[in-house]
């Protein structure tokens, strides 16, 4: 059965069009993807991302379990900090990319939409195999998750709390009262802009918070934003969407996530990654901007001199650049920065330039 966010009714009233994503019926857009996209780049936007999952991990071996099952050494992450990382299978391929938050004596983990049961089972099994004193609880249906993103996100939220939000540092997390409701706040996001995410429980409190944020942001022209703009915003920054970029089994080396791998600790999948690294020659996730008209989409071939060298995993029209942008896995010999490839869009060849992410740089808005 398709699940709905506890905010579905308000979103419907706000004019949202809905789409099904990973078993959830969520807003794809309210007014227009382009308008919502630019609201986040220039001002502030409010997303409901309750389709994402929430797990509590508790017990004296919490750090040990997280370190074993992710590419992060969890002992490095102090109380009040969150971390982006990945959970791997034994063969090194990614089960899911996640954020975990260190909150006092427990950790909250945020797997992707529809991944809650898979990740919960995986963590529980590993805890059992290793006799860890740890409990993993799937509390996904007990939380609403809101993301407030954009240069005016801090000013908007600051109107609703006595806590000085400058004290919530990048990737920091803590308890906070927002509009009189106790939430967990983290200085994180998926748009490449200044932004915060709120975990709200019980879910009955979330409607009020959602509406009060929209009201507080009115002076900054806040917009509610759907999954359509969430996708274009992340793609302009070269951020991975698990369902697209890990489809079919990809390692973090292929996904060019080496920066999150902490090699100094033992973790599931490490041996496989070391072998892959030594062997080399594997495809790597690569970003493109089209230099001709056309919009690459998921599944398009990437060619050089008529030979297939890769496959597009995500593609769209960039609302900022007004050109087709994409990412996909490409043979390591054909991804030199600024080199030109051809992407096959409905049988036609569209020339595209290889970039290093972000596709749209941080200062783009200031200059446009």
């Amino acid at each position: 059965m398709v699940k709905r966010s506890p905010l579905y009714d308000i979103q419907k009233k706000l004019g949202a069009k809905f789409t099904e994503f990973a078993g959830f019926e969520m807003p794809i857009q309210y007014s227009s993807i382009k308008e919502e996209h630019m609201a986040v780049r220039r001002n502030v936007g409010l997303f409901d991302v309750s389709h994402m999952s929430n797990l509590w991990i508790t017990g004296s071996d919490t750090e040990k379990l997280v370190s074993l099952t992710t590419v992060e050494d969890a002992s490095r992450i102090p109380d009040g900090k969150s971390q982006y990382t990945a959970i791997l299978r034994d063969d090194g391929t990614v089960i899911d990319d996640i954020i975990f938050m260190h909150l006092g004596d427990k950790f909250m983990m945020i797997p992707n939409a529809g991944m809650d049961e898979t990740v919960t089972k995986w963590l529980k099994d590993k805890a059992k195999e290793n006799n860890f004193d740890v409990d993993v609880e799937n509390v996904s249906s007990g939380f609403v998750i809101l993301a407030i993103q954009g240069p005016k996100s801090r000013d908007t939220l600051q109107k609703l709390t006595d806590t000085d939000l400058n004290e919530v540092k990048f990737f920091g997390c803590r308890d906070i009262d927002i509009a009189g409701v106790n939430c967990i706040i983290s200085h994180t996001g998926y748009t490449g802009e200044l932004g915060f995410e709120l975990q709200i429980s019980p879910v009955g409190d979330a409607k009020d918070v959602f509406l009060k944020i929209l009201e507080a942001g009115e002076e900054f022209n806040i917009k509610p934003v759907g999954l359509g703009a969430r996708d274009t915003l992340r793609l302009e920054k070269g951020f991975i969407l698990a369902g697209n970029e890990f489809e079919g089994g990809r390692t973090p080396l292929e996904a060019v996530m080496s920066w999150v791998i902490h090699w100094d600790h033992d973790f599931i999948g490490k041996d496989a990654l070391l072998k892959q690294k030594e062997k080399g020659g594997y495809e790597r996730l690569t970003s493109f901007e089209c230099v001709e008209k056309g919009i690459p989409r998921h599944g398009c071939d990437v060619q050089v001199d008529g030979k297939k060298v890769g496959t597009i995993t995500s593609g769209t029209m960039s609302p900022c650049l007004n050109t087709g942008i994409a990412m996909g896995y490409v043979h390591p010999d054909y991804r030199e920065k600024d080199s030109i490839v051809e992407i096959v869009v409905r049988g036609k060849l569209v020339k595209a330039k290889v970039l290093r992410p972000p596709i749209v740089p941080k200062d783009w808005v200031r200059n446009h």
Binding site: I33, K34, D231, T232, K293, I295, P319, R346
Partner: protein, 127 residues
């Protein structure tokens, strides 16, 4: 806001409108279709001079999120394409029935016109 349906046009259930001017049929997508798609960002037009059969792919309209094939509502020769859409596909959103037309077809078989639906019938399909 109700979607505009013009009484003087013919339609298909696939949300195209057709304006018959003698032997020529002007083809576009309806106000309802453009509102559903929103933010049209790319239109792949056919070459003028190409012959198409009814039901064959005529052109492709892309929004940010989706790719929609538009099928020929009638058989005929494409005599004109709206090349303004190459640089400004958003014209379809702004003016679906006027400036946002897609192609002009020289109608090959007049009897096919009878298969098109009128404004009243089309209105019912989008209610």
């Amino acid at each position: 806001m109700a979607d505009e349906v013009r009484d003087d046009l013919k339609y298909t259930k696939e949300h195209e409108w057709i304006k018959i001017k003698g032997d020529i049929a002007v083809v576009g997508i309806t106000d309802h279709a453009q509102a559903e798609l929103t933010d049209i960002v790319f239109v792949e037009l056919p070459e003028a001079g190409k012959e198409v059969k009814k039901g064959e792919e005529l052109c492709v309209v892309e929004s940010v999120k989706s790719v929609s094939e538009i099928y020929a509502p009638l058989s005929g020769k494409i005599v004109k394409v709206n090349s303004k859409l190459d640089d400004s596909p958003e014209i379809i959103n702004e003016s679906p029935y006027d400036d946002g037309w897609l192609v002009e077809l020289e109608i090959k078989d007049k009897s096919e016109v009878d298969s098109l639906i009128d404004a009243e019938t089309y209105k019912k399909t989008i209610e």
